[in-house]
């Protein structure tokens, strides 16, 4: 799910950036430093949308750098366990398939794909029901439920399932 939240960060700035453009410089550096990063707590920072306030700078002992506490609003993407969302399939193999929902990767193991769907290899590997009416392949759109998340320093990785009511393929590129 996407959220609009307020975060705070201490920005360290070299004195050469001071002057009338100080504020612009702080904001530019903040965008460069923060946009595109990911933390386990807040998820992926997609875009900064506004600055709430920039506090008084504090000179660091010994270096001359000044740190400014900056409060900013941003759009973040944070997946939750139990959340249901739509995703695009990016890769299919006999272990299951990978899907992407925005910046996050989700793996759906073949144990969590309905039992009536069989893996078919070939140049377009896919999972298909026995009557061939439903097919999951690259670029299919699926609705899935996140059942687990793993967080490391710079990435969030999810495990999903489509073995539940109202989950599964919502749009098949081959059928369209």
């Amino acid at each position: 799910m996407f959220f609009h939240i307020v975060l705070e960060r201490n920005m360290q700035l070299h004195p050469r950036h001071f002057g009338r453009n100080l504020r612009d410089n702080i904001v530019a550096k903040l965008m460069k430093d923060v946009e595109g990063t990911c933390s386990g707590r807040h998820g992926f920072v997609v875009a900064i949308t506004g600055i709430e306030n920039i506090g008084k700078g504090l000179i660091r002992d010994g270096t001359g750098f000044v740190s400014f506490p900056v409060k900013y609003q941003c759009v973040v993407f944070r997946p939750f366990k139990g959340e249901i969302l739509e995703a695009v399939v990016t890769m299919v193999n006999k272990m299951g398939f990978f899907a992407e929902a925005g910046p996050v990767q989700i793996f759906v193991s073949n144990h969590l794909i309905p039992d009536d769907m069989e893996f078919q290899s070939g140049d377009m590997p896919n999972y298909t029901t026995s009557d061939g009416s439903v097919k999951i392949q690259k670029d299919s759109e699926v609705r899935l439920k996140i059942i687990g998340t793993r967080v490391d320093a710079t990435e969030i990785f999810c495990i999903g399932t489509i073995k539940d009511d109202f989950l599964g393929v919502i749009n098949d590129p081959a059928a369209a």
């Binding site: 799910m1 139990g82 925005g102 910046p103 998340t149």
Partner: protein, 138 residues
């Protein structure tokens, strides 16, 4: 990390910080990101080089999965859903997935049926009807 263990969106356990935060539906994110992208386009020749991969992927994703395209419809969806005493998170899941039946809505957002909340099937059905009307007249 005990907080991490208990996280479960189906029961609306998403941490205080996110529960109080403003949730965004995909269509709203699309409006925000497209606006930002246009601003970047005016400032430089090659805006795709300026943005992070996270931004690019999110923009593609929300464009693909936006149920409502025009800004007025997006505003209406939020307005209508906010009449039903939903949590922000529930509101956005419904707005994103647009369930068609009451059963589907409850499967998508199990927390609307938990004890002590005033959502009977009729109220949910009315809400889904209102939503599909917006889609029809968009």
């Amino acid at each position: 990390m005990s907080g991490e263990e208990e996280e479960n969106a189906a029961e609306l356990k998403i941490g205080d910080e996110f529960l109080k935060a403003k949730c965004l539906m995909n269509c709203e994110v699309a409006l925000i990101l497209e606006h930002k992208y246009e601003q970047l386009q005016q400032m430089s020749e090659d805006p795709m080089n300026q943005v992070s991969q996270v931004f690019e992927k999110s923009l593609q994703y929300v464009k693909r999965f936006s149920r409502y395209k025009n800004p007025d419809a997006v505003r209406q969806v939020r307005e209508i859903l906010s009449r039903y005493q939903l949590a922000e998170f529930e509101l956005c899941v419904l707005g994103n997935l647009c369930p068609e039946t009451v059963e589907e809505a409850i499967a998508m957002v199990p927390s609307i049926k938990t004890k002590g909340r005033a959502h009977d099937d009729e109220a949910i059905e009315k809400m889904l009807n209102d939503l599909s009307l917006i889609k029809k007249f968009e």
